[in-house]
């Protein structure tokens, strides 16, 4: 059976070059030392880690000293929130974020609220866009941090980060963006974006799972989150995940070169897929902004039927996608993102997210355009929400 992976927002397969770059650091005959060790075994690992750091920094136009390695996007997000809030707690206690952030932002925010910090959760419009003026209006003299994602993982909307940064300028608040869905996928330049902190996760851009980073602009008042040894300029305890870091470094190096091709390839496929779906299937809507969206993302709500049952049927045909339906979560709540953009619950339950990536082809899209309408038809025939004529 044809296998069509279209869940690249969930995770991406590491590039063969990435795996290649990791292997020497997993090899007992090569470089297995602890980068904190003073002897040559350790210093060889240290030198490699610093090379990788330079590659990561180069991708986002940062200084290598501004990069702290973490275990992934979730840690980077926790670190950013915890680090800024606890470091500035003597004077400030307020965070501004949005209702459509990833749970790696929302869950720490809820924890911080329990510890006495205040959080403002901004609304977004029907396309998922944050209004920069609303951000500005929410600022008080107690605001320590604004955290707004660069692009939404579910509906693909790209937020006006640079515009928001301009409005925040001079206000004495730090600005963090969760760029887990954009680094290596669209242009991410911390200077152009104007952010103080930026989170990323390697496995979302063809790097290995278990590696991520937080960009921390020089001069940012920050505490550590992972508390322990003196690694990462004392900003993150724990023995560095050297193979993971090397893989991420390579993934960044390749992304930098390959970015224009990636964007072109995915935009073409995306438009073919979304136009095809909207044309063939009745009662279907595209979620997220029509143009300000990730090149990889096609998120649709299919009326009258439920997401997981579509997902499973697609899976039976070799097509891997994701859904914002309650049934895919243990809380039994539909996607908070779809609710935040004003979708009624039944449409939220009926969402399917296709996210494209490097191994997808036109033939894959054709296959989906052939299979998916049949599945929709089959499920609608079973749905009590569709009345017989």
């Amino acid at each position: 059976m044809r296998q069509v992976y279209m869940d690249y927002a969930a995770t991406t397969p590491p590039l063969p070059e990435v795996v290649e770059a990791m292997l020497p650091y997993l090899d007992e005959k090569r470089v297995f030392g602890n980068p904190s060790s003073l002897h040559s075994f350790g210093q060889e690992a240290r030198a490699a880690v610093e090379e990788a750091r330079a590659k990561v920094a180069a991708l986002i136009n940062a200084d290598p000293r501004e990069i702290v390695f973490t275990s992934g996007g979730t840690e980077s997000d926790n670190f950013a929130l915890h680090g800024v809030l606890y470091a500035n707690k003597d004077k400030k206690d307020h965070i501004i974020t949005t209702k459509i952030e990833h749970s790696a932002i929302l869950a720490p925010c809820r924890f911080l609220e329990k510890q006495g910090f205040k959080v403002t959760y901004l609304n977004v419009d029907k396309d998922g866009l944050v209004d920069p003026e609303e951000v500005k209006a929410a600022i008080t003299d107690k605001t320590a941090l604004v955290s707004i994602m660069h692009a939404n993982n579910e509906i693909g909307t790209i937020e006006p980060i640079a515009e928001i940064a301009k409005l925040l300028n001079g206000k004495g608040v730090y600005f963090h963006t969760d760029a887990v869905q954009t680094v290596g996928q669209i242009n991410v330049d911390v200077k152009e974006l104007g952010v103080d902190l930026l989170s990323a996760s390697a496995h979302k851009f063809y790097g290995p799972k278990g590696a991520g980073f937080l960009y921390i602009k020089k001069g940012t008042r920050m505490k550590a989150f992972m508390l322990g040894g003196e690694q990462e300029q004392r900003r993150r305890g724990s023995t560095e995940n050297v193979p993971g870091i090397m893989g991420m470094g390579k993934a960044c190096e390749i992304a930098k070169i390959d970015l224009p091709n990636r964007i072109k390839h995915l935009t073409d496929l995306r438009d073919k897929l979304s136009q095809g779906l909207l044309k063939i299937i009745p009662d279907i809507h595209l979620n997220g902004h029509p143009t300000k969206r990730l090149p990889k993302n096609v998120d649709v709500s299919v009326q009258f039927i439920e997401g997981e049952s579509m997902l499973l049927n697609l899976d039976l045909e070799g097509i891997a996608v994701s859904t914002g339906s309650a049934c895919s979560s243990s809380t039994l709540e539909p996607s908070h993102v779809l609710l935040a953009i004003g979708k009624p619950p039944e449409e939220a339950h009926g969402s399917i997210r296709f996210t494209l990536g490097r191994l997808n082809t036109e033939a894959d899209v054709d296959y989906v355009l052939d299979i998916f309408p049949k599945i929709v038809e089959k499920l609608r025939a079973m749905s009590p929400l569709v009345r017989r004529k």
């Binding site: 009624p344 079973m382 017989r388």
Partner: protein, 138 residues
Amino acid sequence: MAAGYSEKVMDHFRHPRNVGEMENPDGIGHVGNPTCGDIMEMYLRVKDKVITEAKFKTFGCGAAIATSSMITELITGKTLEEALKVSNKSVIAALDGLPPVKQHCSVLAEDALKSAIDDYLKKTTGKGLEGWQPHNEH
């Protein structure tokens, strides 16, 4: 297996038995609502207190569809009394289990059945199923 489902679940999901509506059913059950993401309708044909035919329509996840399909199989040919003994646990067992987070779907199927029998009893005897109240949380 995808989503942690058993082969039995996947079989009923792929090839659901007794899908559809019924002309002039003797009992109709309707439970769930779109906000929860689960809706099930059950149609019964009853002859001499025996369920001769059962059909369903379901809006819901794989487990919801599979439990719907399974319960219609389990009750067909049973007396109403016997059918009322088909609990959500029996449906789960007949499906070789459900993932913990999906157990609630089987309650939906049980409720749809009871709702349909309730409807049948109301129509035939004027009195519904004794002590029956649909669950609130689907």
